[in-house]
């Protein structure tokens, strides 16, 4: 059974024409997928649907055996807290928390994540330290310091650490590299893939930049998945 499965999903923003119609899209557990799509093609909307922040107008979205389309709001929030890590393009972190507090935040929201950290025989704080260390941020001053003192590249790595905290089943990355320069971007991508693999998390990486796709074994094109976009193109 796939980790994520979309069937005949349709979505339109209120008062706007239909934006997405996806007959079928699946991600296997632990699978890394590159989803390509130009700006405005509905990438973020699709991620919102998968993350359970938005609800589809029709169709089925199954995640880890649960139907997000019929689940209550609270349930979808719970599933996201437990099993998804989200990385945005920028501003992933809460400016008023320390780096460590940002990374351990998912454990505060989800008992399940806390439990999974505990199962590996460690504490959220130590796990945060380990993840940041793996991501090249092993300085205690950084760990306990302010988020705003970090460079954009460092902030994005902290965001990865937070997404991976408590090994969620799916990492959703929405253009996480677009604010980075080429060199930092390649290093970031490599780290993200490595760490997702190490945590056993599936990775859904979304970008308009097709060059990044070369690092992925599976590449999808949103304009192909989305039949509305495909029809418009014809």
């Amino acid at each position: 059974m796939p980790l994520l499965s979309l069937k005949n999903v349709e979505f339109a923003w209120p008062g706007a024409p239909a934006l997405l119609r996806i007959p079928e899209f699946q991600i296997e557990a632990g699978e890394h997928v590159f989803l390509r799509g130009p700006s405005g093609s509905g990438k973020s909307t699709l991620l919102g649907l998968i993350a359970g922040v938005l609800t589809a107008d029709s169709g089925q979205i199954e995640f880890a055996g649960e139907d997000l389309a019929t689940a209550s709001n609270a349930k979808r929030d719970g599933i996201r807290a437990r099993d998804m890590g989200v990385i945005f393009q920028l501003f992933n972190l809460l400016p008023y928390l320390s780096v460590k507090a940002n990374v351990t935040l998912p454990c505060k929201l989800s008992a399940e994540r806390r439990k999974r950290v505990a199962e590996t025989g460690t504490t959220p704080d130590d796990e945060a330290r380990r993840l940041l260390d793996r991501l090249g941020l092993n300085d205690d001053r950084i760990l306990n310091g302010k988020v705003t003192n970090l460079s954009v590249g460092q902030q994005q790595r902290v965001a990865v650490a937070r997404a991976l905290m408590g090994r969620p089943k799916l990492i959703i990355a929405d253009e996480p590299t677009s604010a980075l320069d080429t060199k930092a971007r390649d290093a970031f991508l490599e780290l993200l893939q490595e760490e997702s693999a190490a945590a056993g998390s599936a990775l859904l990486f979304v970008s308009h930049d097709e060059h990044l796709g070369s690092a992925f074994s599976r590449i999808e094109d949103l304009e192909t998945l989305n039949t509305i976009a495909a029809e418009a193109r014809v």
Partner: protein
């Protein structure tokens, strides 16, 4: 996320905006301080007012309304319409159900201060606040015909000391053209401040009142008045004729109604007996309106303080849209976002209110001796009490309700934003 985790998140967020948070907290603290301060002053002045006379069971005078009798006797406001004869006063003294009496004779003034004719019993039986007797800052009670005792304010404002000679005038206007300047009086005592009208009084014996009026019976000086020296007057066989009213203490308080009935139906003269507390309470109902108006105004000031919380959170929402989206992405639900913002409002209000309460007690601890000395008002409640708790809770609940407004706004934002946040 647990409530405590949300509250600590709210704290961290407020700490991050501490400059503006501090301003908001100050606004709330000052408004709460104002409200509680006004409340405290109101309570204190009410107590002070109602305790202007204690221990006196009734006031007796010529028939008039009880309120007017108490007003002129205790507060020196207004004048007695008619006097009570000395025979009636002696009748009161002779009654077995009456333990003590204090005669009060008004109608003269010294430089705008009331001259109160009475006798030694005043110092023994007149009590105020928690059954306190008047005490002497300096000197002794009057004894001789031309002795006077002055209240604390009179002495302070006129710069009088024991041994000074003063003149008393007929009538009660601040400037009297008919000074009884041929009758020099000597100050024998100065009283401590009491916070009652006694502070603004000049006390003399009843006979002294008679002495000032020798030769003045027609209302203007007769040739006789000009002819007689102070020593000549001393030779006259003076005795009191008319007094204004009398303070009365009963042997047994349970007999109050019977004694009142006996006095009210006294056949020789139309008299009225009035328990002072009741009349004073009636007067306070009128006077207290000003205090209530002040309370209402300061309640609105609290509301303004709370609205400033609302303003500060609403303003911050625009720049915190990303923060909300991040929290949503991590798995926070709408209820948690709302709880977070309401917690912020409540934290600001609670901190402000706590500071406000602390400030009131600090200020009243500092000001209490000054109030005591200058106005004779004992500030009520040196320790935080129910009123403070009620205000504290009311402020918090109101802040929580007002916090719903930014909370709902944030909720709308985050639902509209989804996972894609517009910059």
């Amino acid at each position: 996320m647990s409530l405590s985790a949300l509250i600590s998140l709210a704290w961290a967020s407020l700490w991050n905006r501490r400059a503006s948070a501090l301003l908001t907290i100050t606004a709330v603290a000052v408004s709460v301080m104002l409200f509680l301060g006004v409340d405290k002053l109101k309570t204190s002045s009410e107590e002070s007012f109602q305790q202007t006379i204690t221990g006196t069971d009734m006031i007796v005078g010529a028939r008039t309304s009880p309120v007017s009798l108490v007003m002129f006797t205790v507060f020196h406001i207004g004048d007695p319409a008619a006097g009570m004869t000395w025979e009636s006063y002696e009748w009161l003294q002779s009654r077995s159900d009456i333990e003590w009496t204090v005669p009060i004779s008004l109608g003269d003034s010294h430089d705008g201060y009331r001259v109160v004719g009475t006798d030694q019993s005043f110092f023994e039986h007149y009590q105020f606040r928690d059954r306190q007797n008047v005490s002497f800052a300096d000197g002794v009670p009057f004894d001789d015909l031309y002795d006077v005792v002055v209240g604390a304010d009179v002495a302070a404002e006129k710069g009088y000391a024991v041994g000074d000679e003063i003149e008393l005038s007929h009538g009660t206007g601040p400037v009297s053209f008919q000074d009884h300047s041929d009758r020099p009086f000597t100050i024998t005592g100065i009283l401590d401040a009491t916070g009652t009208p006694v502070d603004e009084s000049v006390l003399v014996s009843l006979l002294a009142i008679e002495a000032i009026h020798v030769g003045w019976q027609s209302g203007a000086p007769s040739p006789l008045a000009n002819m007689m020296t102070a020593d000549d007057v001393r030779q006259l066989n003076l005795r009191p004729h008319i007094i204004s009213s009398a303070l009365v203490g009963l042997s047994d308080r349970r007999s109050t109604l019977n004694t009142m009935r006996a006095i009210n139906t006294y056949s020789q003269e139309a008299l009225v007996a009035a328990p002072p507390a009741q009349a004073i309470a009636e007067v306070w109902e009128l006077v207290g309106v000003a205090g209530n108006a002040l309370m209402a105004v300061s309640a609105f000031v609290i509301l303004v303080g709370l609205v400033s919380i609302l303003t500060s959170i609403l303003t911050s929402l625009r720049e915190r849209r990303r923060e909300m989206a991040v929290l949503r992405a991590i798995g926070a639900g709408p209820a948690q976002i709302m709880t977070l913002l309401i917690s912020e409002a409540v934290l600001l209000a609670a901190t402000g209110a706590a500071f406000g309460i602390a400030l009131v007690y600090l200020a009243s601890a500092l000001a209490a001796p000054i109030f005591e000395a200058r106005f004779g008002i004992a500030l009520a409640g040196t320790y935080p009490g129910m009123t403070d708790l009620k205000v504290f809770l009311a402020v918090i609940v109101t802040a929580g309700v007002l916090g719903l407004i930014p909370a709902i706004q944030a909720l709308k934002n985050s639902l509209a934003d989804g996972l894609s946040i517009k910059l």
